[in-house]
């Protein structure tokens, strides 16, 4: 495995602390450290660089969520964990595309990681629903909801941005938007 970038690989505990503290630099070092390993796995097993990007980012998100929710226990090297998740995700993807030939060239040792990718999959479905519900919601509701709930802007600021005469109007508008969003969200299957 001489083809890894050896400079700036964060230690495993650095990564976990970095994720908990939302550290950009640790995320960057993590991302750069292990991408070549995953790229190597994917491009030598019927995939291209874009597949590698998707799979790798999905794995990083799995790791990120696990660390954030506090149920991440490092039972192996982080490198092995990431490789295993990517391997699992890629096998699944290959099977979906009917490109899985029955064997896979491996470059690292790996563990079995089935359930974790499943959990992430469910969450992805919820997020996809949320994304399309927000699209259907349309403007200005979408921006109001995003500003208030995601970007944590105050009602006062939102009121000014949208030119509402007073904050109460803006609030009423926001609640209407939220009700519609819920409706759109739960209407989807």
């Amino acid at each position: 495995m001489s083809k890894e970038l050896n400079s700036g690989i964060p230690t495993d505990s650095e990564v976990i602390l970095g994720i908990l503290n939302n550290s950009d630099s640790v995320l960057k070092r993590l991302y750069i450290a292990y991408f070549p390993m995953v790229l190597q796995l994917i491009i030598n097993n019927n995939g291209n660089a874009d597949d590698a990007k998707d799979i790798y980012q999905e794995a990083i998100i799995v790791l990120y969520n696990k660390v954030k929710t506090g149920d991440f226990e490092l039972s192996s090297k982080l490198k092995t964990y990431i490789y295993s998740v990517c391997r699992r995700l890629w096998l699944k993807r290959l099977a979906q595309m009917n490109r899985y030939g029955g064997d896979i060239k491996d470059f690292q040792e790996y563990l079995s990681v089935d359930d974790e990718t499943e959990k992430n999959n469910e969450r992805d479905i919820q997020f996809n629903k949320m994304g399309s519900a927000l699209q259907l919601l349309g403007e200005p509701c979408k921006t109001i909801i995003e500003d208030f709930y995601i970007n944590n802007r105050s009602m006062q600021q939102i009121c000014e941005d949208f030119g509402y005469t007073n904050a109460d109007n803006a609030k009423t508008q926001k609640y209407k938007c939220l009700q519609r969003l819920k409706k759109l969200f739960f209407q989807q299957n």
Binding site: K53, Q126, Y149, Q179, K182
Partner: protein
Amino acid sequence: MSDNQLLEQIERYLNGEMSNDERAHFEVLRSENADVNKKVAEHKHFVNLIKQYGERLELEKRLNALHSEIDVHSLEEELMIHPSWIVSIWRNHHSKISVAASIAIFAVLSTLFFTGYLNNKEVNYVKLSRELDHLKNSTDQINHKLNNLNRSGKGNSNPGNFRGTGFAISSNGYIVTDYHVVKDADSVYVQGVDGKSYRTKVIYSEPGADIAVLQITDPAFKSFGPIPYAFKKADTDIGENVFTIGYPRDAMVLGPGFLTASTGFRGDTTQYQVSTPVDFGNSGGPLLDSKGNVIGIINAKETHVEGAAFAVKSSYLLKTIQDIPDSLKGSLNLNSKNILASLSRVQQIKKMQNYVFMVKVYNQ
């Protein structure tokens, strides 16, 4: 209280924006009204989902930004497993290599074909003496020894190690068979159609023509009586209706057919090719034409060609008999009178069956 107001209250409650009084009041409402309580939980969950969705979008944005800093293309070049040079040569030039290989194979095959190498059927050519199973063989040896000890070996009916066919050439006990049948023999017996068995000795052999001459040495033997067939001196023509009789198994078997070539295996001019069905054990059998003249001695067949058997020409038999030194020859007088000429095939066989023998060969 309208939905919106309720929502506002829930939100303020969840965000901890209520005063203590309000909070206590709302908690009472919540505990009394299950509907409100449910809405609180729902709202909390949904708002969390929105927040998480936002975080996910944010994270993806960050990851994409990080990704754009990586030189994926050069990494890809570096990490792709490059096949070995021989595989890349194959991938780049396989059509040319295939054409070259086909031409080479074609050239080799046509060279082999035109030089006659492919006609080499040596392995397919088998002498027709019969080798019996090993087990039987050893039992027979024991029997034979016992018989010898008892001095009652004469007339025993055990089948021998090898078996072939032979036929009488004179009434006083001279029999001809193939050399390969009696080669390396310790003792040779002949057994007639009537089941009588006589001890013989090999008085002369001509390995080049695959001919051996036996003489019955048994005191019990008197005479065959006049031999019904004659021996043809000249070559026989292709298309002649021929037949052989012999002992491929314990009973005498007729093999009818035609003379199909005036030379034998690989152009051997001492032999004919015939289409008679023959098997192991037919070796040494007489080949007769429709008039009942002996025209040859069956000696081999081609294993991979149906109905291609070979017989030594009778002229070589006559020559071999002439070559026998007088000291060994004794009173060998070749029969020259043919009484089969005008008979039907059935009658011919009936007349001659007493002169065709199973040759049983024993060796230790």
